[in-house]
């Protein structure tokens, strides 16, 4: 039995898929190098990421399957789920056979898995569009820390690029230690860590207070429903919100 091990990058995964095809091998699993466990009966084949091979696979997906499939694959990958790479591999294998109708073959467990992962990731990305909270820093830059379950930074950045085009801003994924820096129509995503607290603009406190007060005031007392609130806005996201859910005026 053969497992393919790739370096954890999207290019690495696509390269592994390329190799599986051209070596006529049918790896049982494709795993990221940080999620392997030793097992005597399994042969590990290490795959080195190769930009050119990755691009060929990507364009094959777009042309032979569909753009929608390429997007599903990327999103499933961004879930960072240990079984994502294998599911993607099998999904694509079937996709190269069936073309774009692969997305109707929902009875296939791998197709279904890729769809499910895609959905989870896009749902979190969608939620994050609302839950990002910028703070205005002394130097006029807007800064927002986030800690999403999935690696969705790259998905949400274009939204803020359209919306906040005339301002400079940073969205910082503390969990993955990466940040998107935007200025004047351009952005980059780079590894990033903070060494200390950031100095806030004076106005900032006033608006934070206004927002907190507004938030506490609009809940209807006879309808307080913490369960529902948590269902929509899981507690793990609360840390970086300015408002403090669960603190409605008792008056």
């Amino acid at each position: 039995m053969v497992y393919y091990i790739y370096d954890g990058s999207f290019e690495g995964l696509l390269t592994a898929i390329y190799e599986a095809y051209y070596r006529h091998q049918n790896p049982e699993k494709i795993l990221s190098s940080d999620s392997i466990q030793d097992n005597l009966f399994i042969q590990h084949v290490y795959i080195k990421a190769d930009q050119e091979k990755a691009e060929r696979v990507y364009s094959a997906i777009v042309h032979k399957i569909s753009l929608a499939a390429a997007k599903k694959v990327l999103y499933a990958f961004l879930s960072e789920s240990p079984d994502a790479a294998t599911a993607i591999y099998r999904y694509l294998k079937l996709g190269f056979k069936l073309g774009k109708s692969v997305d109707s073959a929902l009875a296939d467990p791998y197709v279904f898995r890729v769809h499910a992962l895609h959905k989870k990731v896009s749902q979190e990305a969608g939620k994050m569009l609302g839950l990002v909270r910028f703070r205005l820093l002394k130097n006029g830059i807007f800064y927002a820390p986030i800690e999403p379950d999935f690696n969705i930074l790259g998905i949400i950045v274009p939204h803020f690029k359209r919306r906040m085009s005339a301002h400079d801003w940073i969205i910082h994924d503390l969990k993955r230690k990466i940040a998107a820096f935007y200025s004047q129509g351009q952005y980059i995503i780079v590894p990033f860590e903070l060494s200390g607290a950031l100095p806030l603009d004076e106005e900032e406190f006033d608006y934070q207070t206004l927002w907190k007060e507004y938030f506490q005031n609009i809940a209807i007392q006879s309808r307080i429903n913490p369960r529902l609130q948590r269902q929509f806005m899981p507690v793990r996201y609360w840390k970086h919100l300015i408002e403090k859910p669960g603190t409605h005026d008792k008056a």
């Binding site: 997007k71 939620k127 609302g130 839950l131 909270r133 919306r163 085009s165 429903n225």
Partner: protein, 436 residues
């Protein structure tokens, strides 16, 4: 009075307005401008009562010359009063928006001095936001009942959505509880907005440069449980509003007892379950192809609070079931309890490729606990045989642990992706979690 106090008073005063939706408009940002309106709408937070916060929802003022009995702001009520200036509203909106607290502004108002005067203040505010602050985010504006149509036409040029509140489902109700409002002052503006939307749409076909007019359409809201009007009457009203004025949404708001009066019902808590059932039934009207007459009739004018309206309908129509999932048409699949829009679509898509087995249904999100009584799968029936309607009713009823507390009444948007080069317009069609 400082801004903090004003926001407290005028935010709290607006909270009974249920519409949170920021959807239906895709306004683009312009160079140097701030913001855009996102088609599927975005929730930015959820308040302690579990409602989505999307827009900064405030009243311009709560000083009112009207005296609607169900309203905290009625002229005779003893409450603290406040009034914003157009610039204060604009500043708040801009600064909240930049910090990504909100998706835009929902501005409403009590009737200050008279309807036209108030409407002019609201227009001044949205004009300032658009022209002076270059704000391109979402704006929803309430139409003040009785305001001049010319003012409504002016307002419509700057906002994404207009709404006129129906408030109460019948003229008698209005007479009794909101004597200064009447059916005409509500229906006429709706009619006017509708015809203006149609006219603009035609003109834009000919001249691309015709300015937009409320691109996200109009909605309305009505209060449930403040008058004796039954659910049949309410649903019929909604149905005709959707049909006649192409309303985007009718919002239902359970009456929150804020005061006592002989003309008001004596209840201690808002009828949340009834509100929830009305939303479900409304959903059936809009997305499931049901008619109000199918759900209720004169003998049975109230929605069952114990089971959802679709199950109730199916139980009355057992002769139509079971249906075979591998051959039933889409319309019929949608009518099966436990099959929602998403799972029905999946079934239709997947069976083109291969016939569907029972296991697959589960993965498609079909709630088999309910659906199995109404379907066959490859000819096989998985429900209980020979059971009567009553037993089935008991089985469809949620257990008491499940039914405690009201379920979410707002629909949530499952939003997809934004990678521009991977962008697919059909992403916006996945809307439903209100699966039934």
């Amino acid at each position: 009075m400082d801004l903090h106090t004003k926001l407290k008073i005028l935010g709290a005063a607006a909270k009974y307005d249920v519409s949170c939706s920021s959807s239906g408009s895709s306004r683009r940002n312009r160079p140097g401008g701030l913001g855009n309106a996102s088609l599927p709408g975005i929730c930015h937070s959820w308040s302690d009562d579990g409602r989505c916060i999307s827009l900064l929802k405030i009243l311009f003022t709560n000083r009112c010359v009207f005296n609607c009995l169900y309203c905290v702001n009625r002229a005779t009520a003893d409450v603290p009063r406040a009034t914003f200036t157009p610039d204060e509203v604009a500043q708040l909106t801009i600064n909240f928006y930049k910090r990504n607290y909100i998706e835009g502004l929902f501005l409403s108002s009590a009737v200050y001095k008279n309807p036209d005067y108030t409407m002019e203040l609201l227009i001044a505010t949205v004009k300032k936001l658009r022209n002076q602050y270059h704000f391109n985010g979402y704006i929803h504006l309430k139409v003040i009942p009785g305001a001049d149509p010319l003012l409504i036409a002016e307002a419509g040029k700057y906002v994404d959505r207009l709404s006129v509140n129906i408030e109460l489902p019948s003229s008698q109700g209005l007479q009794l509880l909101a004597p200064q409002k009447n059916r005409d002052s509500i229906i006429r503006p709706m009619e006017f907005i509708h015809s203006k939307i149609l006219q603009t749409r035609e003109e834009r076909k000919l001249y691309k440069s015709t300015p937009l007019f409320v691109p996200a359409g109009q909605t309305t809201q009505l209060i449930v449980g403040a008058t004796p009007d039954n659910d049949l009457k309410i649903l019929k009203l909604s149905e005709s509003l959707y049909k006649r004025f192409s309303l985007k949404r009718v919002y239902y708001s359970a009456y929150v007892p804020v005061t006592q009066h002989p003309n008001l019902p004596a209840i201690s808590s808002p009828p949340l379950m009834r509100e929830h059932r009305l939303y479900q039934a409304d959903w059936l009207l809009r997305f499931y192809g049901f008619k109000a007459d199918e759900l209720l009739d004169e003998n049975q004018p109230l929605l069952n609070t114990e089971i959802d309206p679709k199950s109730a309908w199916a139980l009355r129509n057992l002769h139509l079931f079971p249906v075979e999932v591998n051959s039933a048409d889409y319309e019929m699949l949608l009518r099966v309890p436990g099959i929602g829009v998403r799972s029905a679509k999946r079934i239709i898509a997947a069976r083109r490729y291969s016939s569907i087995d029972f296991e697959t249904l589960k993965r498609f999100g079909v709630v088999l606990k309910r659906a199995r009584h109404f379907i066959t799968c490859r000819g096989k029936f998985y429900g209980e045989r020979n059971i009567d309607e009553l037993t089935l009713y008991q089985m469809l009823k949620p257990s008491s642990s499940q039914s405690s507390g009201a379920k979410p009444s707002s629909e949530q948007l499952t939003f997809s992706s934004l990678y521009p080069h991977l962008f697919q317009p059909q992403d916006f069609h996945t809307v439903i979690t209100g699966e039934m």
